[in-house]
Amino acid sequence: MAKITLEKLRHSYMSAPQGPDDFALKQIDVDWNDGGAYALLGPSGCGKSTLLNIISGLLIPSEGQVKFDGRDVTTLTPDQRNIAQVFQFPVIYDTMTVRQNLAFPLKNRGVDDHVIASRVGEIAEMLEVTDMLDRRASGLSPDNKQKISMGRGLVRDDVNVVMFDEPLTVIDPHLKWKLRSKLKELHQRVKATMIYVTHDQTEALTFADQVVVMQEGEVVQIGTPVELFERPAHTFVGHFIGSPGMNVLPAEVSEGSARFQGQQIALEGAINKGASGRFEIGVRPEFVTIGDTGIPAKVRKVADVGRHLVVEAMVGDHKVAAILNDSAPSQGDTVHLNFTPAHTRVYADGWIATGAAS
């Protein structure tokens, strides 16, 4: 177990990168504490797998350093770094039994047989695969195979970090949450630093204490699930997390106040001085209400998603989503929308530009 520090990390798959567009990772500076559960969240191609492979040592970054507990490990190989990784597709050794699979990483490191036996027993118990120990691993179902892959990572008690690269991709939906809660439970029991890469917000938010949101090779925000939800630092985060995502509406800003479609909008705090560029107003559908007065809008669609209703209304050419709990207007109605000021912000060129509510 170790604290992981990434310093000025940049990576390009090209041999002679020219501009920032040639970099898969633009500049990453992150500190991850010992024993934490972290998630790397972002759309496909945002560089999260690249980052993961750099941490595990499968890839050497073009620039910058990776440190475990302050020790520079940038050029060390994966086995020298003492890490574990679980891949998107279950990797198991077909010809071995489950027991041999679990014992394999320890055997390769020359651990004593009786230590191996007790560790394997312990991990099998945790993963609830004890009854399969003597079966050929190739005959298992995908979720059990993935459990075995995890088990091979967890069986070594000295690993610095366990990394998961979208490990639930091939798992059936009804088994996904089971494995997910298993993972959470395992984290609490083994206390290893864990990094979980995914493009699925639910997986990231349920697993991690801290989520790192990435876009186009950059970290856009690091925060707890609640922070990411309540106060997205970037419109991308607002949009990517939440269902439906945050409403991002074009705004005109003048003399410290923001207007949308000619209406003045109350904000959580003052707009930062010197903020410039393209202004947008961001407000989550959860904080859009319907009242007697407010911004006039025409209801285009009402969807009942079970726990609540999602209303899609048009203000001019702009779509605004609202989440309502009880009664909803019907399609074609004209309504008045209100944005809860404490959760309404201005973004300049995508980045948050209002001071937090006091």
Partner: protein, 287 residues
């Protein structure tokens, strides 16, 4: 209600006709010959199983069969490990991949009798490149028309040259289909190169290797053209493999009855060994 009819059979008929004309009927004529004696003029005399008994008791047949098994065993023992080794050392990506693949495929594109003729000339002691080199530069007496050992070395080398590529290409296809994650996981698990080969590459190549060995077995067990052109079965009978012997009996001596019986025995052996091997290799997949 499910309506059942027999129309599907109509679609099977063309295949049945094709198989009948190119396999079943020719084979039945062989069966026909194997139980009769003929002196030409389309006159036949019933002989029962006499020819089969004669062949199975014949020392000449035993010797040819022994040489055949020896030949097949030798080429398999050399070609399979060599093929795997070459496949392992080929690049997985980059500009050299097509170059390697084409180079590997080249020997297989050469017609069999041309291969035989090439190696015949290549090994001639006085003018052949290899024959001259071995005899006059290395000073080792090497003449496959005189020495049975030299003849064996030559036909084995020729087959290895001609057909190892097949094992290489099939193994390579198996190797490139292994996802990177397996190699990465093995690295993280601290596996040695040998372990990677033993627990990842070999198991993942098992299916293609089964096919490769099966093809190499059948082809080498039935081989005729190359050794016929190269050594003609000599010196003496030292490289007279089953097929060469069969043609000698059928066309040289015109003993059609025994030749037909021998063909059927030959066929049965090929079929049985192939079946046995395939069953053994795939029995794990079933459970």
């Amino acid at each position: 209600m499910k309506t059942e009819n027999q129309k599907a059979w109509l679609f099977v008929l063309p295949v049945l006709a094709l198989v009948a004309f190119n396999a079943l009927i020719p084979m039945m004529t062989v069966v026909n010959y194997s139980v009769q004696e003929t002196f030409g003029n389309n006159q036949f005399f019933w002989e029962g199983l006499t020819w089969f008994e004669q062949i199975l008791r014949s020392e000449r047949f035993h010797a040819a069969l022994g040489r055949q098994f020896m030949f097949t065993a030798l080429i398999l023992v050399i070609e399979v490990p060599l093929g795997i080794a070459i496949a392992l050392s080929m690049p997985r990506s980059g500009p050299w991949v097509p170059v390697c693949l084409v180079l590997m495929a080249l020997p297989m594109l050469i017609p069999w009798n041309v291969v035989g003729a090439m190696w015949n000339i290549f090994t001639l002691p006085d003018i052949g490149l290899m024959g001259y080199f071995v005899n006059h530069v290395l000073g080792i007496t090497y003449d496959m028309t005189q020495n049975p050992f030299a003849a064996w070395v030559t036909i084995i080398t020729m087959d290895v040259w001609h057909w190892t590529s097949l094992v290489v290409l099939l193994s390579y296809a198996g190797l490139v289909s292994i996802p990177d994650a397996y190699y990465q996981a093995a690295k993280i698990d601290g596996a040695s190169n040998w372990s990677v080969f033993r627990y990842i590459q070999l198991p993942k190549m098992k299916n293609v290797l089964t096919i490769a060995i099966l093809l190499r077995f059948m082809d080498s067990f039935n081989i005729y053209t190359e050794p016929f052109v190269l050594t003609g079965g000599g010196p003496g009978n030292s490289t007279t493999l089953l097929s060469i012997d069969l043609v000698k009996i059928a066309l040289g001596q015109f003993d059609l009855g025994p030749a037909a019986a021998m063909s059927l025995i030959y066929f049965a052996i090929t079929l049985f060994v192939s079946w046995l091997f395939y069953t053994l290799m795939t029995k794990d997949d079933l459970n």
